[in-house]
Amino acid sequence: MSSRLSGAFRTRGGPLIVTCIVAGDPSFEESIRISRELIAAGADIIEIVMPFSDPVADGPIIQQAGSRALAAGMNTDLLFDLVREVRRETAIPLLIMTYANIVVRRGIPRFYRDAADAGADGVVVADVPLEEADPFCTAARMAGIDPILFVSQTTSPERMERILAKAGGFVYLVAALGVTGMRDDLSPQAIDLLRRVKQKTTLPVVPGFGISTPEHVRQYADAGADGVIVGSALIRMIGDRGTPMAEQGQGMGDLVRAMKRSAGRG
């Protein structure tokens, strides 16, 4: 495991808050400023989403953020520039999340080398399941990057064992069937899945998808999650900036601080 990731998960006392931004939404400079805001609020890990034209795993909030970023000129070269800029300001782990074609188009080994050179610690590829994972995991390990894999409620026990044998960094637990996006309630199946995965692996287990409120964080903390991934709930605030919605609501930093308190780490 990358030393930064393993180090972060070793400092326990409640789940880590993994905060997501979409690279280049609404601009390269704003992404840096938003990262600073998240770091200042106590984000434990930042996941930088490289947008793709056809994001089938994402709901409307992240789709629209991706469209804004691509329209503003975001591309893979700039992604690594952005990671490098953020790395200059912080020692917390940085993840890159994207889709297979972004990696394949650059060349799989080159993508992971560039990610490592820029200072990323892990890479998550939304549409690479176990069946397609080998070239991605191999390139990741060669570059010293953790290949982060998914388990879902529809993953069979036999399949889960094979995924856990290949995964690095932490296990990304898909906490809701369907796409990314805010949800009102946690599914009891996700809590049950979390307990089952924890029994099978020594890797940290981190749920994502639909985690929107401090209350959700508290429930996952109680169930033993090692971290929680907060995407749409934060990314939505960027889209809302400059609208009346943003005036009344809390800021990104407020949400991160509230979630840290719920995680017992405030």
């Binding site: 070269d77 074609n101 894999l149």
Partner: protein, 387 residues
């Protein structure tokens, strides 16, 4: 086998693997079973109207200087080859014990075919269709609704077929347990490209019997249009090991230097909709909007088996522009009294190009994958506008 050479695969979110594994098992066990084949035979012959004729075209043959035949998928119930696959997958859905079908559609032909199959087999049908395509193909939207299907407009991305597939995949991830995604072409993750090919292979199998009965030998050349490529694969599959020249007509749009949908002629390999295959994309892997006058060919990807056949040089793919397609739409209408779908008009245009170098006795077969009623208003408006 989930790959054609290096192409194909299963690039989908982990949550979907459950559904793909289940479908793969059904593809391997249910589809070959006698019970399934009997039911399928009933629907194809009694209901859909198979076999479709292989028509010898006297006027075109005289004009082009070789023996020209049309495989008449335009005469299939629903007016296009899409029904072969829709009936197959709808029946498979029933055998798998699922009750809900989702589908994507571009031109609306696959949506209509899915709505028909759903009505015939008692399954609920929801069809994702790009907003722009709904305007271009309003007649088919009305047909789907009359058949009891729900049409869901897609507002994301380019609001065409590509985005309708994205939306259908998102629905499927959320509802994997009770829903089957009835994909309309030989695209998507394994096993779809093989499953859809197998349901469309009836086209090529019939051609083989029909041409042997009429001519006593195999054809020299066959031509089909390629968007995702299901009518082409269905036609080509039974002839891949024979000395038959195979040609695929891609959507050249405004020409390869401008906006087009000719993925194999003008694209590069990458991953879209679960498959590694040729794509129209930029240097960073962002998939670009395709363009074609025909909604059914307006797709920036292509079935992975076509990518393989293209690299192997077993099939020759050429681009046909919008202008050439409209010209051949009118040519076939006036020469033979058959109005082709704009998609199929691309195949007619390529056949006319190829026929130039042929001998009088050469046999050329065109897959007339659909009829043109849906395109009449669009072409009429173009003619009125003038060149």
């Amino acid at each position: 086998m989930s790959r054609f050479g290096e192409y194909g695969g299963q690039f989908v979110p982990e949550s979907l693997m459950y559904a793909l594994d289940e479908l793969d098992a059904a593809y391997r066990t249910i589809v070959p079973s006698e019970e399934f084949r009997e039911e399928m035979g009933y629907y194809l012959s009694e209901y859909a109207g198979r076999p479709t004729p292989l028509t010898f075209c006297r006027n075109m043959s005289a004009d082009l200087g070789c023996k020209v035949y049309l495989k008449r998928e335009d005469l299939l119930h629903s007016g296009a080859h899409k029904l072969n696959n829709a009936l197959g997958q709808a029946l498979l859905t029933q055998f798998m014990g699922k009750r809900r079908i989702i589908a994507e559609t571009g031109a609306g032909q696959h949506g209509v075919a899915s709505a028909i199959a759903g009505a015939a087999l008692g399954l609920s049908v929801e069809v994702y269709m790009g907003e722009e395509d709904m305007q271009r193909q309003a007649l088919n939207v009305a047909r789907m609704e009359m058949l009891g299907a729900t049409v869901i407009p897609v507002h994301s991305g380019s609001r065409t077929l590509k985005d309708a597939i994205n939306e259908a995949l998102r629905d499927w991830v959320a509802n994997v347990q009770d829903t089957h995604y009835l994909i309309g072409s030989v695209v998507g993750p394994h096993p779809f490209p093989s499953l859809v090919r197998d349901f469309q292979t009836v086209i090529g199998q019939e051609i083989r019997e029909q041409v042997m009965a009429k001519e006593g030998r195999l054809p020299d050349v066959m031509v089909a249009c390629v968007g995702g490529g299901s009518n082409a694969i269905g036609m080509f599959s039974p002839f891949l090991d024979d000395p038959v020249e195979l040609f695929g007509a891609e959507a050249g749009g405004e020409g390869l230097a401008g906006r087009h949908g000719a993925t194999l002629c003008g694209g590069t390999p990458g991953v879209l909709h679960g498959s590694y295959t040729y794509l129209i994309q930029d240097a960073f892997g962002q998939v670009l909007e395709s363009h074609s006058i025909s909604a059914g060919l307006d797709y920036p990807g292509v079935g992975p088996e076509h990518s393989f056949l293209c690299d192997e040089k077993r099939v020759t793919y050429q681009a046909v522009t919008d202008t050439e397609a409209v010209d051949s739409f009118l040519y076939l209408s006036r020469t033979e009294g058959i109005i082709p779908a704009l998609e199929s008009a691309h195949a007619v245009a390529l056949a006319r190009r190829i026929a130039r170098d042929r001998e009088k006795e050469d046999i050329l077969i065109i897959n007339l994958s659909g009829r043109g009623d849906k395109d009449v208003a669009q072409v009429a408006a173009l003619i009125k506008e003038g060149p």
